[in-house]
């Protein structure tokens, strides 16, 4: 297999572009870290599953080759969605708990032939979306597809584990990171799953079980896998403390993928080590928050002069962009409020992570469509094209202005609180060194 396989078709390019646009609209920041590059050839990606709609979108964005997604067949029952799924090359999976007859022979057949063509498939082996920061027991589908394809003569299959880490999956404009791990080379490791002389087919239950366990181990290495959300949050803060220490300037943004990899590493430590680390981090952050500070603020050491300089920059930026931001606000405030209202509905976070971006696309899309239609009638095609170009710029101006004001407010608060905490600064820094020692020791 060569790089030629990476050569993408027109449709793949379009899918990637659409996914890129949506992802950049929905998230403020997406960090992708690939431990290994896809060299082409048959690949099966496996990933954790938090958000039914956003997970596949993020993976299409993060992976070098657009994957064909294996998804529950119930999704095909909605008319428009059905066409989209077919167009994107998705493969329906029948689940016994979904009513309606059907066997998965067709699914396995499509998956085998896709792998035989050297395609990239994507499956969520937990089989369900999940609200816990850990991996559910895996279904055996992924292992059966791989062993079955191999029994049908497909060579060179690799399984690529990926982990998606949401900062807050139910809110728009938050951050997310995608960790793409090292792949499992099936041809090289087949003897680990199949006892010598054993049957290398999906009928061999022991082999299916053992490959599924191997996939689970690799998935836990890249995906969030913590005891509970409290542990996940604390260890993530710990990883931030470490990476902030390693950064060139403590005011730089933390690389999310590196942070989540480190937090995951800490989460796999023995319970005793973990509780020591969690205890130290909690003590430090409690003392900080008593002062109204966080770790980034303590390290930023902002002076009155820096604050003044930042105020001037924000003010100039805000003034220059204000006319555009006002137009943007006038166009977008109704859809913004509608999406905000959707956020107040009571539903599980996994469901919300699907509903919220979808409704955002719908209401923003409808509003922009309406504006375009109006401009088209009033000023003709040229005007509509111009409006199509400018509307994203107007919205971007709103975002820039709002974020400039936020930055100004946080630096003001930091400067004021650091002044108030000056007497206890030495104590806090000593505490920070302690917690850092515990963390480095544990790594």
């Amino acid at each position: 297999m060569t790089r030629a396989v990476v050569d993408q078709s027109r449709r793949e390019r379009l899918i990637r572009k659409l996914a890129g646009l949506l992802v950049r609209g929905v998230y403020r920041r997406v960090d992708v870290f690939r431990m290994e590059e896809d060299e082409g050839g048959p690949r099966l990606s496996v990933s954790n599953h938090f958000g039914g709609f956003t997970d596949p979108l993020l993976l299409v964005y993060a992976m070098p080759r657009v994957p064909r997604i294996l998804a529950r067949d119930v999704i095909w029952r909605t008319p428009i969605v059905r066409s989209i799924m077919n167009w994107a090359g998705a493969i329906p999976v029948h689940k016994p708990e979904d009513r309606g007859a059907g066997s998965n022979d067709v699914m396995f057949g499509s998956a085998y032939s896709a792998l035989a063509e050297g395609s990239h498939l994507l499956i969520f082996p937990e089989g369900i979306t999940r609200d816990e920061p850990s991996i559910a027991p895996l279904k055996t589908g992924a292992a059966r597809i791989v062993l079955g394809a191999r029994a049908n003569g497909v060579e060179g299959i690799h399984i690529i584990p990926s982990g998606i880490h949401y900062e807050d999956k139910a809110s728009l404009r938050s951050s997310v990171s995608v960790l793409v791990g090292r792949s499992i080379d099936i041809d090289a490791t087949i003897d680990d799953y199949v006892a010598s002389g054993g049957d290398e087919s999906p009928e061999n239950h022991a082999a299916v079980r053992s490959l599924t366990d191997a996939i689970e181990t690799e998935l836990r290495r890249v995906a969030p896998d913590f005891a509970d959300w409290a542990e996940a949050r604390t260890l993530t803060v710990g990883a931030e403390i470490v990476l902030r220490t390693l950064s060139d300037d403590p005011r730089d943004e933390i690389p999310l993928a590196g942070r989540d990899a480190l937090a995951g590493h800490l989460g796999r430590k023995p319970a005793a080590t973990k509780s020591r680390v969690v205890g130290a981090i909690d003590r430090y952050t409690t003392e900080l928050s008593n002062m109204g500070l966080d770790d980034a603020q303590l390290l930023s050491g902002i002076t009155g002069r820096q604050f003044l300089l930042r105020s001037v920059v924000s003010l100039v930026l805000t003034l220059v962009l204000m006319p555009f931001a006002l137009v943007g606000a006038a166009i977008n405030w109704i859809p913004y409020l509608l999406v905000k209202a959707v956020g107040f509905l009571r539903m599980a976070p996994a469901m919300m992570s699907t509903i919220k971006p979808l409704s955002a696309m719908l209401v923003f899309g409808a509003t922009w469509g309406l504006v375009l239609w109006g401009v088209l009638h009033e000023y003709g095609g040229r005007g509509a094209a111009l409006a199509g170009l400018l509307m994203p710029l107007y919205l971007a101006s709103v975002i820039v202005v709002v974020e400039a004001v936020q930055v100004l407010w946080t630096s003001f608060a930091t400067w004021r609180r650091l002044r108030g905490a000056r007497s206890s600064e030495d104590l806090l820094e000593a505490r920070r060194r302690e917690v850092l020692d515990v963390l480095v020791e544990a790594i």
């Binding site: 390019r13 990637r16 572009k17 890129g20 997406v30 960090d31 992708v32 870290f33 690939r34 431990m35 964005y61 993060a62 992976m63 070098p64 793409v180 090292r182 290495r221 470490v242 990476l243 220490t245 390693l246 950064s247 060139d248 403590p250 730089d252 943004e253 690389p255 993928a257 590196g258 990899a261 480190l262 590493h265 796999r268 390290l299 006319p323 555009f324 137009v327 040229r382 094209a385 111009l386 199509g388 170009l389 400018l390 710029l393 820094e429 920070r432 060194r433 850092l436 480095v440 790594i443």
Partner: protein, 109 residues
């Protein structure tokens, strides 16, 4: 009166910026040959707005996984080291040494 003075600013200024961006971006791209760059710049200048729309539709997205730009050397080293450690590619002593090296370079907090 106000809207008549504001309207040209709100529409014309960003329109010129958009055309300027197209020309600048096309000239700067490393994935286009010179003749293609010239073609796109000509299109953007002759058919102002539609040209830019066409250009943006044809422009590939940056690959998000190509080099995590936000990681400095120390962070990259630590991430790689942890990965080697978990893959069992490095023993206790070598790991401890490499870890000390990474954190020895860190600025005092």
């Amino acid at each position: 009166m106000g809207e008549f003075t504001l309207l040209p600013y709100v529409v014309a200024v960003p329109a010129y910026l958009v055309i300027g961006f197209t020309i600048f971006d096309a000239a700067r791209r490393s994935d286009l040959v010179a003749s293609r760059k010239a073609l796109w710049i000509a299109v953007a200048a002759i058919v102002p707005i539609l040209g830019t729309l066409l250009y943006l539709l044809n422009r590939p997205f940056d690959d998000p996984g190509r080099g995590p730009a936000s990681m400095n050397a120390r962070t990259t080293n630590l991430t790689a080291l942890l990965e080697q450690r978990e893959a069992g590619a490095i023993d206790d002593d070598a790991f401890a040494l490499a870890k000390r090296r990474i954190f020895a370079g860190a600025p005092e907090s």
